[in-house]
Symmetry: C2
Subunit: 408 residues, 2 copies
């Protein structure tokens, strides 16, 4: 019986992430920053807001002037002006006085709160009745309450979502320093693999992996660089690998990493200068015959040939490395969808099994239904909404088990 | 007391989605299709795979030749050839015969299964011992098992993920018919709002909404078109609205939609031809003063001025309309993150309260912690991982309640 390669656990593989460096940084315009990873701590040049700001349409007032006011016993208040939007009021108010103010307006001196227009009635041009009391600070955002100029507004290494883009705008940042998108080289191998625009002859199959892995790279914030299909030739593979390592930040080969007769990946890695094989085999299914090497400081992956296996390995193992390259901090969180399994699932001990599941929303809970079908079928990934893991030391999961689903 | 506008429920608002049409379609290259919405039912031009394909490295065999084989009593089998990758084998095998085959290879005539190389030993160049039996079909993907040429491969109106891109490649599709990205016009209003590149004077604030809403549009698959800031002038607003309606598929104004003195949005809508106000006020918080109109068949939104309120309204209400424009089917599912609330939350009856929460992963469950702070603070959106809804007819949620979190 042939000796199979030594396998690592997922944790063992992931322990290598910290030994790779993030890519360098670049400056992008605010309008282009969505989804990018911040490479600087951001401070605002002003307090946000830079004035005491009304959050309601109504009247700026000293709260004390309204104390005790009710429907039965309204407070009578003198209107001493109307606040113009976007300018500092040129007057102050005293006890028993109010000034008309719209949402977003600046409170005049003397005012500490806003009474909503819905809680007032106008008696004449200069007098209102207030039916409610307000507390100091009510319906007001104080100067610097959102972001203080002295403190940090955003910490680096986070992915910029729409709200972070909004905050960057508030801070006056038209140019943002972000990590470059890591370029990931993608190579397909196999004499049976033909390009998408070719009609496969008998025994041939079109290249699915290049497209599926490119999509995963893009979705994770990287830029795929496609190197096409290498036939099972050691020299061609060597040449493509050298070129990919030169032009990219990380390389992924799919196919050619099992113990098959045409396995040149290890040979090529052995022949490349400054190259160490870190991992040869992972205790997961699908995806066991995965290779991770470091070549000249760059991560080099040998992924399984089946599209599904390659995609699972990418989702579970490669992606944390790509996050590292992208500059994302380890505290960047993705939260699983919790669901309830709708049938028993057997599993082998000694490895983590990843099972594709379809999800159904059943009001009080979400149901996870395993997608049946062999792991080589891309169709099963299309039917799936996510992956669940069945741990190393369990023999399976029972119907009704609560599972955590990693979205696909 | 001023009359407040009549408010609709969320369901009432969402019932209008079906009255808007999806945008038209365009053709994109396979490499550009990720995240786009498919506008055609896709069929493959070949069976996938187009031959009986081995999923393992080993030997193609008639399963019956291995029946009864065990470690103690191996089957002795004659090796009558080696399958070349990517070509039809030019020989068949009979009972008691095998042919060497690699993962992805085409089974020769006569073979119905593959025995893994790990379960065999080579005795000499032409004989192996097999230690296990295999069942017919084992370690084989049959011709057409993944996708049959006669059936549909992908149905239209789905968003293309990496696996769908892979399947499109398998089907030989280099060009894909997808829905155009809807163009969404974004207008900010308010005399107090200044552009990002300006240092706000006292009483002024930079335009957060344009950037935050542009980000939400992009994340939802749309293309934002920015029309800048309109000062509180009816004529300028009218002019910008006309222009935005001409150039885009949907328009969003933020600010100017409450009952404030400077509320020109309704005036403008009243003056536009072929325009009906469908909704004026929604029973949600934040976000009550939201307007939805139809103008010449296009959706026109008046969103609240506060960035947080505008973003919540976008996430909860506007996004389903944008999905509709994008061509996404109603069965396109997004699944919430289930979490446990870590404190009591009060809520007013008669409206749905949206509360920003931060999530923590606590092994057996995910904890949702409400983000404190006034709803006008963009900072609270930055701290939040998602939104939870507290229903119309409840007075709040108790600590320990199971909640569904909509990711932000």
């Amino acid at each position: 019986m042939k000796e199979f390669f030594k396998v690592d656990t997922i944790d063992g593989v992931l322990s290598h992430t910290s030994s790779f460096d993030s890519v360098n940084t670049e400056t992008v315009a605010l309008a282009e920053c969505l989804g990018r990873v911040l490479a600087e701590d951001v401070h605002s040049d002003v307090d946000i807001p830079d004035f005491n700001r009304s959050t309601m349409d109504g009247f700026a007032v000293k709260a004390a002037s309204t104390f005790g006011a009710s429907e039965a016993n309204p407070a009578y208040l003198n209107v001493c002006g109307q606040i113009k939007m976007g300018v500092r009021p040129d007057f102050s108010i005293g006890p028993g006085e109010v000034a008309g103010i719209a949402t977003g307006g600046m409170l005049p001196g003397g005012a500490d709160s806003v009474i909503m227009v819905e809680h007032t009635d106008s008696l004449d041009a200069s007098t209102i009745e207030a039916y409610r009391s307000v507390a100091p600070g009510q319906h007001v955002i104080e100067k610097g309450e959102d972001i203080r100029r002295t403190g940090p507004a955003l910490a680096k290494n986070i992915r910029i979502r729409p709200q972070e883009a909004g905050l960057l705008a508030a801070c006056g940042r038209t140019q943002i320093n972000v990590y470059r998108r890591p370029v990931v080289g993608i190579i397909s191998t196999g004499d049976e693999v033909v390009p998408v625009d070719r009609v496969p002859a008998e025994g041939q199959i079109r290249d699915i992996n290049t497209q599926a892995l490119s999509g995963q790279v893009q979705a994770a914030g990287g830029l795929p660089m496609v190197f096409g299909i290498v036939k099972d030739s050691r020299d061609d593979l060597m040449e493509k690998c050298r070129r990919a390592l030169r032009c990219t930040d990380m390389v992924m080969i799919s196919g050619g990493s099992s113990v098959g007769a045409r396995d040149f990946t290890v040979e090529v890695l052995d022949a490349l200068p400054d190259t160490d094989i870190l991992v040869h085999g992972i205790s997961i299914s699908p995806g066991k015959p995965t290779i991770l090497a470091r070549s000249g400081g760059k991560a080099f992956w040998g992924l399984p040939g089946h599209a599904v296996s390659a995609m699972v390995v990418f989702a579970v193992v490669v992606r944390p490395f790509l996050d590292r390259l992208c500059g994302r901090s380890e505290t960047t969180r993705r939260f699983p969808i919790q669901a309830v399994l709708n049938r028993n699932l057997a599993s082998a001990q000694g490895r983590v099994d990843y099972v594709r599941v379809r999800l159904y929303d059943a009001e009080d809970q979400i149901i996870a239904e395993p997608v049946l079908g062999k792991s080589g079928l891309i169709n099963t990934m299309v039917k799936a909404d996510g992956l669940i893991a069945i741990g190393m030391n369990t023999e399976g999961l029972e119907q009704g088990a609560r599972v955590r689903v990693m979205p696909l």
